[in-house]
Amino acid sequence: MTQSVVVQVGQCGNQIGCCFWDLALREHAAVNQKGIYDEAISSFFRNVDTRVVGDGGSISKGKICSLKARAVLIDMEEGVVNEILQGPLRDVFDTKQLITDISGSGNNWAVGHKVFGSLYQDQILEKFRKSAEHCDCLQCFFIIHSMGGGTGSGLGTFLLKSLFDIISKIDLMVNSGKLGTTVKPKSLVTSSSGALKKQHKKPFDAMNNIVANLLLNLTSSARFEGSLNMDLNEISMNLVPFPQLHYLVSSLTPLYTLTDVNIPPRRLDQMFSDAFSKDHQLLRADPKHSLYLACALMVRGNVQISDLRRNIERLKPSLQFVSWNQEGWKTSLCSVPPVGHSHSLLALANNTCVKPTFMELKERFMRLYKKKAHLHHYLQVEGMEESCFTEAVSSLSALIQEYDQLDATKNMPVQDLPRLSIAM
């Protein structure tokens, strides 16, 4: 089994990260009754003998001594990380795996990316290298950050670039703020009062829990047993048909926060229906009325293959799949349900419904950019030029165009292409 490292960047990233570690501990505590350090726990936690000074304390088997999160915490101001280190999870974090500064990035991508990027480049790589050394077989980095601020967006994308350059074999999964999409290292500028606050009426804690649950469910089939396992590398293999179209929309059912322990169990089939409804998507999007390139269903709990098949057959007619992937389903069954529930479903889709989000983003960007509003804050940072902006926009436009082309094929009849003819 492999290990993953979680990199939490900026306020958003660290707050979500904190929720994640809390939930992960609860989940493993519920499953691991005997207190033995096993492969499942080792995917996210190290087992450390805290009496040993320095680096020698790692224990690979036997009883759990002290669990340390495989995490790197990065923030350019101290408040959030300090709060975490004083809170109930303080013992879970390795204090050597932190990078903090004092002044913050001032919601300026350029400051996060260019200034702090170059300042902390070596330290960042050092922490990554350390966390990799602690792993038997490191498979994946999860990077949690927002797009709207300065550190999460700027420094977050900077470190992505460094990782890409050095580690080509390891999967990178990027969880971007509350959007639940994966983002390549070209971050766009948005004003901080942006869409995030308008979308959600509940406090951030509830939202963070949802994203944290997403991460847990994403990795459940890799950590726990089941009749149809799904490893992390299978996610990118099946859901990314073309390298540039790697944006995934997720939906989680049932949706719950930590305090909702007494939700009445929904009927199993209702869970599947909910996963495809607009309201359960973690991105403001409607996949049902757009085009699916691929869809993954990751089920947890007491659900068998016949339940899965029945629901796929039932829901298929109302969904539109691209012509060359009419049966584009990837499925997995994990026997271990999430804490407090008998079953759950995480649906990941590669769907053209992300296009409106990108278009809106571009529109909002252009409104500011045309007036050159706030531009001087960015351009006065060394290394930042107007070309950064124009390149970012053109790459976004190219992406939108790809989705446009796919959407154009939506209602066309599916034709079988002429096959190779063999002379007998």
Binding site: E225, D231, M237, L239, A296, W324, N325, E327, T331
Partner: protein, 398 residues
């Protein structure tokens, strides 16, 4: 006459466990409606075929377990040990940490060469334990990355190193509506490679077995366990010793020899669990049919229907294409049972469908970058398509 089983990937290992379990529990089942001597000969033959000498009285399966991640093998080993009836050999496993990511290219081009020596060593040790080795039974799926890609690689190696032994691959055909999105790519790559190195491909479709569970067995919530047990049951009734009056050891007929008098190596397997054999045999033209009957009244069973020339291709006489093996010793708890192993046009439709879907996807170049990054190029895909179109055409022309 011993058979070494190689279980590959999650599917292969999960099924492998059920097969050994079914074989042993049939062997232990009550007298089997025959004389005690008959029964003892049958049991001895079954033991020798699939298990090696007991350690503390517990038979050890003649099996090699291979997977690129540890969870399934760990589960399989412990389930076997828990049964108390049999177990797997301690050193019969090969395991890695990272999995194959549903990528045929990764299983074939990366894991294969990297672990070739270790895997072949374990297999060799298992073969050496056999007094009289008759061949390999390789269990794998087509849809994933390890079973399919590494399975194709291992089979090729077995062909190179054990060219005189028989190799039969048990292949699981995935559900039509997707377990894995790239399953059609993985399937065509697997089938075209196995075509060259395997002696016989025994195919089971998840969809078909699912229907059996639903319609014939009335199981409400069907799990993979149920499906695998049905499959194991079928395989058990094919592979358990069959009575042969010709040789002095009555139960030594080589089950892998089913394919000896048949060529192109694709076989289909519709199952029958009662004596009332299905009369409408699809009118798919056959190259060869084998009926295996077990239990009560086998000697008086009427198999004339199978000799109808209408069932066979024009260039074969039924007498050359049809065989029946009758064994009085009943299988498992069934008073009478029958199995049909058939090499016929039955497979044309599913094969054609998979090739068609893979072709449509290939035309758009979707997912191809995932394969080329591990050395499987577009040309390799085209080669596979060509091979399989030829197979389809050959069968259509029967």
């Amino acid at each position: 006459m011993s058979i070494v089983t190689v279980q590959l990937g999650q599917c292969g290992n999960q099924i492998g466990f059920e097969v050994f379990d079914a074989l042993l529990s049939d062997s232990h089942s009550s007298q089997g409606l025959c004389s005690m001597r008959e029964n003892e000969a049958y049991q001895a033959s079954c033991k020798e075929r699939f298990f090696s000498e007991e350690e503390n009285g517990v038979p050890i399966a003649r099996a090699v377990l291979v997977d690129m991640e540890p969870k399934v093998i760990n589960q399989t080993l412990s389930k076997a040990a828990q049964s108390g009836q049999w177990k797997y050999g301690q050193h019969a496993c090969f395991c890695q940490k990272q999995g194959s990511g549903n990528n045929w290219a990764y299983g074939y081009s990366v894991h294969g060469p990297r672990h070739e020596e270790s895997i072949m060593n374990i297999i060799r040790k298992e073969v050496e334990k056999c007094d009289s080795f008759s061949g390999f039974f390789i269990i794998m799926s087509m849809a994933g990355g390890t079973g399919s890609g590494l399975g194709a690689f291992v089979t090729q190696n077995l062909e190179d190193q054990y060219s005189n032994s028989l190799k039969m691959n048990q292949i699981i055909w995935p559900y039509g509506t997707g377990e894995v999105i790239v399953q059609n790519y993985n399937s065509i790559l697997t089938l075209s490679h196995l075509y060259r190195s395997s002696d016989a491909l025994l195919l089971h479709e998840n969809d078909a077995i699912h229907k059996i569970c639903a319609k014939l067995m009335n199981i409400k919530q069907i799990s993979f366990s149920d499906i695998n047990q049905v499959l194991a049951h079928q395989l058990g009734s094919v592979f358990q010793p069959t009575y042969s009056a010709e040789s002095s050891f009555h139960y030594r007929r080589n089950p892998l020899g089913i394919d000896r008098h048949v060529w192109p190596p694709l076989s289909g397997l519709p199952p029958l669990s009662k004596m009332s054999l299905n009369k409408d045999l699809h009118f798919n033209t056959s190259i060869a049919n084998l009926v295996i009957l077990r239990g009560k009244d086998v000697q008086s069973a009427d198999v004339e229907g199978f000799k109808d020339p209408a069932l066979y291709t024009s260039w074969l006489k039924p007498v050359n294409a049809f065989n029946v093996w009758k064994t009085q010793r009943a299988f498992s708890k069934y008073e009478k049972s029958a199995v049909l192993v058939s090499n016929s046009q039955f497979l044309v439709k599913p094969l054609d469908m998979i090739v068609g879907k893979a072709w449509n996807m290939f035309a758009s170049k979707a997912y191809i970058h995932q394969y080329t990054k591990f050395g499987i190029e577009e040309e390799d895909f085209l080669d596979s398509f060509t091979s399989l179109e030829q197979v389809v055409a050959s069968y259509c022309n029967l």
